[in-house]
């Protein structure tokens, strides 16, 4: 997958062509290739690759948005790793990740399994539409609805017959964010897992059932192992998505009560734009960056195994 098509047409044509012609054609191809990719190349250079490098540099500085910038070496990092609010934020972020990722994976996997095995074309399309819908809704609007549902006396209390003040109790505030976030993500992964189930060769399933294998052992012996790359890939993507999520915590709790739900993206935003300390915030961003690099390495390894197989 990393390896793009080698221009088979070029080679097939080349048979009929003199060596000189082949060279001009290759040149023409290269020129056209650069022309088509140029806008994207410039865009990514200025707004992605450049900022990554610039951000790493900013992490070593004491910078203000007004223009002053001073190189301070590792000072930001020394402060960072003894800063209780940062360490607390890292812990909260980890909790938020776990509370969101685990239910999303479980619910999406079970739903996709049921959807794949339950017959009925119309009901299939209907379930898929309804379950996928939350994924496209604006997270600000969804967060507002959940903020109100989770109010004391709100729908959530009614349904669960509890009197917990979900958002204002520090022990449940992170879970509240996870509920809203997971609700918005499940549908996407149902679709991904459904694609996974559909790609399992039918003959394998039939052979297993002829051999007397139960549905459950077919699931664990055949489907689950074959779906392992999809599950890993999805887990990595969910983690990255949750790490990107700013709107849900910003709208639902704005980090509160106290700093009980100040996840890293929120802390970076507040440190830079409310406490006007972008240099220090950049050091936090670098930590988040390192986590995302680890995730990316895992994802690349997964994509490569697939490339070798095909």
């Amino acid at each position: 997958m990393i390896d793009p098509g080698e221009g088979q047409a070029l080679m097939s044509l080349g048979v009929k062509m003199a060596a000189g012609d082949r060279k001009t054609l290759a040149k023409r191809q290269a020129r056209a290739g650069v022309f088509f990719v140029l806008p994207a190349l410039l865009y990514f250079a200025v707004w992605m690759f450049g900022p990554i490098i610039y951000g790493i540099w900013l992490g070593f500085t004491d910078t203000s948005f007004l223009g002053s910038s001073k190189f301070t070496g590792l000072d930001n990092y020394r402060t960072l790793f003894s800063d209780p609010s940062f360490i607390h934020s890292a812990v909260v972020t980890a909790e938020y990740l776990v509370y969101t990722t685990v239910p999303v994976m479980l619910v999406a996997f079970i739903s996709a399994y049921a959807l794949h095995h339950a017959r009925g074309r119309i009901s299939h399309a209907l379930y898929l539409t309804v379950i996928f819908l939350p994924f496209v809704l604006p997270s600000v609007a969804a967060a507002i609805i959940f903020e109100l549902i989770l109010q004391p006396g709100g729908l959530f209390n009614d349904v669960t017959r509890t009197t917990v003040a979900w958002l204002t109790d520090p022990s449940t505030a992170v879970i509240s964010l996870s509920i809203a976030t997971a609700w918005g993500l499940v549908g996407y992964y149902v679709v991904i897992f459904l694609a996974g189930f559909q790609s399992v060769p039918k003959q394998l399933i039939e052979a297993a059932s002829i051999d007397g294998s139960s549905k459950l052992s077919t699931l664990f012996r055949i489907e689950l192992p074959l779906l392992r790359p999809v599950i890993l890939f999805s887990t990595v993507t969910v983690v990255a998505t949750v790490l990107t999520n700013f709107a849900t915590p910003f709208v639902m709790t704005n980090g509160g009560p106290g700093d009980a739900t100040t996840v890293l993206p929120l802390l970076i935003y507040k440190t830079a734009f409310q406490y006007s300390n972008p240099g220090y915030a950049s050091a936090m961003a670098v930590v988040l960056f390192i986590v995302s690099v680890v995730l990316t390495v895992i994802q690349f390894a997964l994509i490569r195994t697939r490339g070798e197989k095909s």
Binding site: A32, F36, P39, I110, S111, P138, Q151, F233
Partner: protein
């Protein structure tokens, strides 16, 4: 036979429960937007409001000039969608069909940013935009998020599957590379272009963090920004906030209903890309 039926029943129960959980918050939001503030958290809440308070919508609409926010969001989302579709299609086409130096490295670098959380580059992007004089301008809202790595990735995957012979026949006929792209490659790519466009539109319509830092004057407010600000300043006015949220949701629901199949298929494609 009996066991098979029980199993099917269990599958449907699971799916019905998940469907109900998916829909309930939206339905509650719609119901809540038609109630009164006193009613919402009292024991007398009913799903179908006895006297629908339609004026909540009119009041919410005028409370923050929500029409202006809608027009801003719409304009921005349309420009981003068109820009992303054009440039990602060109890039995907190039990476998938041409051979040139650095092509593989570039593609690896672009998909390397697939999982990059935007907060990581928020501050440098802000400083760059500020240096270029883009703060509090439409260009500043639009440009830094224009092309997504997801779009390029999907386009590359798609164009890898297009038959080279078809493109070659155009070249043999003497058409320019641009004409080959414009008249042969792009029309074939319509389904994926549509799917990428819907995903881009939705992402732009829903984006909060970048507009929040780059926009200062209310004239440029987007829907999520207006909504988030109204929510933080008028939180006790629940029903109006709900009415605004429902209005913000509606365009996305319309798009979703129209393009559901293309959207689901394109996601299945990216999921299927793993086997």
């Amino acid at each position: 036979m009996y066991r098979k039926r029980t199993r099917t029943l269990v599958y449907h129960i699971i799916l019905i429960v998940v469907s109900i959980v998916s829909l309930t918050p939206v339905l509650w939001g719609i119901s809540g937007s038609l109630q009164s503030n006193q009613n919402l958290f009292s024991g007398s809440f009913t799903w179908v409001p006895p006297a629908p308070q339609w004026h909540n919508y009119a009041e919410a609409w005028h409370a923050v000039d929500f029409g202006r926010d809608m027009i801003n969001s719409f304009t921005i989302a349309v420009i981003v969608t068109v820009g992303c579709a054009v440039f990602s299609a060109m890039a995907g086409y190039s990476i998938a069909t041409f051979r040139f130096r650095g092509r593989r490295a570039l593609f690896a670098a672009i998909i390397g940013t697939l999982l990059l959380p935007f907060p990581v580059i928020l501050i440098p992007v802000f400083i760059i935009a500020k240096t270029l004089g883009m703060i509090d301008t439409y260009v500043g809202v639009i440009l830094p998020g224009l092309i997504t790595p997801q779009a390029v990735f999907l386009m590359v995957e798609f164009f890898r599957g297009t038959p080279h012979e078809l493109l070659e026949s155009g070249r043999v006929d003497g058409a320019s590379e641009w004409a080959v792209f414009r008249r042969i490659a792009l029309p074939m790519a319509w389904p994926i272009v549509a799917a990428v466009s819907v995903l881009t539109f939705v992402a732009s319509w829903n984006n909060l963090l970048w507009p929040l830092v780059v926009i200062q004057s209310q004239q440029l407010y987007t829907v999520p920004l207006g909504l988030a600000q109204f929510n933080s300043t008028n939180f006790s006015n629940y029903v109006q906030i709900l009415a605004m949220s429902i209005v913000a949701i509606l365009p996305v629901i319309v798009l979703f209903v129209v393009f559901r199949k293309k959207l689901v298929d394109s996601i299945m494609m990216s999921g299927g890309a793993l086997k």
